[in-house]
Amino acid sequence: MLRLSWLGILALLPLSGGAEAVAPEVAAGQRIATEARERDRGFGDSRAIITMTLRNQRGEETRRVLRSRTLEMDADGDRSMVIFDEPKDVAGTAFLTHSHRHKDDDQWLYLPALGRVKRIASSNKSGPFMGSEFSYEDLSSPEVEKYTHVYLGDETFDGREHFVLQRTPQDTRSGYRRMVVWLDKAHYRAFKIDYYDRRNTLLKTLTAEGFTLYGDRHWRATSMLMVNHQNGRSTGLQWTDYVFGNGYTEADFNRNNLSKIR
């Protein structure tokens, strides 16, 4: 187990003295977060199959199967869609997100039984996704502009050197006061994220492994585990069948085309 209690203390320190001055750890944090984004830029689009395993306190497991599709946007946040295959009673339900860098994301839910597209209030980001330990905001693309980043130091584990970064959401509707992210120095991949709730208590820890390289520069984890320290539940994600370069266009992520999604 990692001993990082000093990080919590650091996080409570004032970030900057004057409005004009940017503290060096803030400047470094922004630089690292921006570099992480730049390194993944140009992936174009991707799709994958996600198997979600929900585990309760008694170790009982429930399985979900989802298909994810993402389109990278040049001047805006990514477009993404999740289509539910299992459980069967919600098969065909599609969840569409237009992430934005400087305003609230737009979200819609397509309900095949009613043939109806429902707009989702953007305030739901802190709510659990499909009863899992992932919230909607955990699964949306973390646009750099929506957080303040502070470089907290370096740390080595599992034979890798990491930057340790604090990410503070600017949106007051976020479920988190802050997050601590471990990015490996070699490829800026997030191996671990600690989520602190609004009372600044450790809520969840995400760990990622099995990173696979696509197209010479795009790393994707094949396995993720989110552990909720407060309720004892956890959710695992297995990412399989990753395909890049599907030729998706904005039309594939148009709200009006949701009824065509299968």
């Binding site: 929900l54 309760n56 429930t62 399985r63 299992e86 459980p87 069967k88 009673d89 919600v90 098969a91 065909g92 305003k103 609230d104 737009d106 009613l114 043939g115 109806r116 707009r119 989702i120 209030a121 953007s122 305030s123 739901n124 980001k125 802190s126 709510g127 659990p128 499909m130 009863g131 509707r173 479920g175 039309a251 148009n254 709200r255 009006n256 085309n257 065509k260 299968r262």
Partner: protein, 387 residues
């Protein structure tokens, strides 16, 4: 169940199936001795689709069947969908039977005009019959344009004399009358423009043809010389607007229409909001508060919901079983009529779902549609298995 077949021309077919058992108990004795105190049904819903030519063409078949133990009129089969879709760039062409939903509000579906209501399935208007159509959809940066040609009219389904939740007099569907000389073969058409402007969504539509909502006219059954009701479908020109805005925790909604028919021009609207409390007092549960107002300037002669207030709440427990509960109370502000509705559902295991539905009706106003339902308060449980 998934049947996957990949012949040389690369059409993959997929079948999904849903079987349901539904039991309904009525709290009060029926007004008509022919009616039953309880009712049970079995339902089957299936959907099969196949994509061809790399997704440019799709065929969808979706039949529906209900067998009801006590009301033969409630037992029915319907083709919810049977269509072919061809896509070419920004254009989609649909030919066949489809279901299309317009609108945004929770309680009343005012502008949703393409499909006929399958009233025997549910009073709430959310179960709808398949509508034969030719539909053209054109997607542009400035919005979506749709054109519908509707060559065949579907009559509303009504409970039979043994069924509950019906008008006090028997309905003589054989005598159904149409204002249009061509009857069911009158060619209806509709056009719709829809656009998303950030947090705001707007739909503008026009419909010309036979109204989906019949007027029930008193008559005499020639066979029995007894008084009956005869459905009369009138021609209408209807222009409508629907608007939704997502602003933080608020979802604002409005549906409005102006119609012209042989009763003159009239206006109706419904609108309100849903405000969501995410994670109520630190829990995983979301609470949504719903408030909507319903207005029709033709009053109760036109609509039971002519000056009504809807208040309610939605609970989403966000648990593994996706447990949800929606409670709505509709109050007539002019007369003493009230409708109370509860809907809930919960997944059991990985492929079963248990749903609960209860409705209470109270009315002192003999000319209100709810008056006929005053003894039909019910509780319904549905168990569905999904394949």
């Amino acid at each position: 169940m998934v049947l996957a077949a990949t012949p040389a021309f690369a059409a993959a077919g997929e079948l999904s199936l849903d079987l349901g058992l539904e039991g309904r108990v009525f709290f009060d004795p029926p007004l008509d001795p022919r009616q039953h105190g309880s009712q049970s049904s079995a339902t089957l819903r299936a959907e099969w689709y196949a994509d061809m030519n790399g997704g440019a063409d799709r065929v969808v078949v979706s039949p529906y069947l209900r067998l009801d133990q006590s009301d033969p009129e409630r037992s029915h089969a319907d083709l919810r969908e049977l269509y072919w879709r061809h896509s070419a760039g920004a254009m989609d062409i649909y030919l066949g039977v489809r279901r299309v939903f317009w609108g945004v509000t929770e309680a009343l579906h005012l502008v949703d005009v393409i499909n006929q209501t399958d009233l025997v399935d549910n009073l709430d208007g959310e179960d709808r019959l398949g509508q034969p159509m030719l539909q053209l959809t054109w997607q542009q940066d400035w919005g979506q344009l749709e054109l519908f040609l509707l060559p065949w009219f579907r009559e509303r389904t009504f409970p039979g004399s043994k069924g509950r939740l019906r008008a006090p007099l028997p309905l003589l569907a054989d005598r159904t009358r149409y204002e249009a000389a061509q009857g069911q073969r009158h060619l209806d058409w509709a056009a719709r423009y829809f656009h998303v402007l950030g947090a705001v969504e707007i739909g503008l539509a026009h419909f010309t043809g036979t109204s989906r909502e019949p007027r029930l006219v008193a008559g005499i059954d020639p066979a029995t010389a007894q008084p009956v009701l005869v459905p009369m479908y009138e021609l209408t020109d209807q222009s409508s607007m629907d608007l939704a805005a997502a602003l933080g925790n608020w979802l604002w909604k409005l549906e409005a229409l102006s119609r012209r028919d042989n009763r003159g021009r009239s206006t109706a609207f419904t609108g309100g909001f849903e405000y969501t409390f995410v994670g109520v007092s630190g829990s995983r549960t979301d609470l949504g508060l719903v408030a909507e107002y319903q207005f029709d300037d033709q009053g109760p002669s036109r609509s039971s919901f002519h000056n009504d207030l809807v208040v309610g709440g939605r609970l989403a427990f966000n648990d593994v079983q996706s447990t949800e509960l929606l409670v709505l109370a509709v109050t007539d502000l002019d007369r003493r009529s009230r409708l109370f509705s509860l809907e809930g559902s919960r997944r059991l295991g990985n492929s079963w779902r248990l749903s609960i539905e209860a409705r209470w009706f109270s009315s002192d106003a003999t000319n209100d549609a709810l008056f006929a339902l005053r003894s039909d308060d019910y509780l319904q449980l549905t168990l569905e298995k999904f394949y």
